[in-house]
Subunit: 233 residues, 2 copies
Amino acid sequence: MQIDVCFTPDDYLASSASVVVVIDVLRATTSIATAFANGCRKLIPTATVEEAVVLKQDHFPDALLAGERKGLIIPGFQLGNSPFEYVRNIVDSKTIIMTTTNGTRALGLARNAANVFTAAFVNAAAVCERLSDMGRDVVFLCAGTEGNFSIEDVLCAGLLVSRFGLSATLSDKALAARAMYEGAHSDLLKTVMTSSHGRYLRDIGFADDVVFCLQHDIFSVVPQYCDGIITIT
Amino acid sequence: MQIDVCFTPDDYLASSASVVVVIDVLRATTSIATAFANGCRKLIPTATVEEAVVLKQDHFPDALLAGERKGLIIPGFQLGNSPFEYVRNIVDSKTIIMTTTNGTRALGLARNAANVFTAAFVNAAAVCERLSDMGRDVVFLCAGTEGNFSIEDVLCAGLLVSRFGLSATLSDKALAARAMYEGAHSDLLKTVMTSSHGRYLRDIGFADDVVFCLQHDIFSVVPQYCDGIITIT
């Protein structure tokens, strides 16, 4: 079993693994895990706001529209990108159509892989267990921020890598992500709050979201992206 | 003072810092530091073997030809890329013309910056002291291996970043490199021996070089690249 980590979506262009795990800790894949933990039935990511609106109008009139631009809820949408919004009494049994800046793009890149999952700190253990059961080569695809390296995604990849133990063969970037997590985990909040995306979210009033997103293993869901739709199996 | 780290030469294209520190731990910048610590007068990096040969013939008949391709000494050259070759009785007072796969390319990219230094674990403290004295924004440019991420270069950048303390503002990649070093430093040799470049050097008989290259702060030289020539000042 070989494990690789793509630090940014651009890194992924060179990858051809059949199992891809998309990570966008702040906040798309955290909110996705939260939504499924609270009963969401399916979630459809779209690249653009327009696509989301048309999809609801034409095919899913009861769907909730969700997403952000520059971290803020899109006008007219029911949900932003804060995991605190994805509570049971809003998302239970619902279809969500979601468009976010980075996570959705990364999912789009990975769509041709045989198996695509989403992971964050909040559902790391469950994702690791599924990957271990599959026993196949894995690429962790960090969504980054507008194409750039985002430390929180690579730290989450590092946590996931660290849990595979000695059975896996690690690429240099997988080794690096693991070392990075091991170096930062004792003060993860400080590190992420110092990062560019962490500072930005704090500045626009979402410091609590960062704290939420760094919780480990609180949800046991493993969202899987298949034929354009995310579900849990 | 802002600190950034470029994980690969491609990352550097977006950078415009005036102080650039090129890092190629295995083994160019380690051998460069070793050469100067042992009395080398000047070192001229070239992109190609042919360029090195012509430069010696036309301008520096007494120069030593040094360098590697695929880690091995170039036929007809006096020195390879192992720091063990750069001993005092060979390099003292000499001019060295050096062509290496990755380090030379990174130096070429950085050549237009106002100040370009080379660093490795062996001269990290001396380089940090110089950078602190200058008090300017710094980019650590990791040479990588054939354009790809090499963990040992980023770990060295992480050591350098970790020594700046709280006075510097760190980019996400600088934060990441520091965390990576902090996570790996208690077993640095094992981490680097597990990496792709470390394994390759071991396989071609240079495991001792890896051990040498991971020594911290054994040389006090600060090689500076200016107008195509590296010297110490």
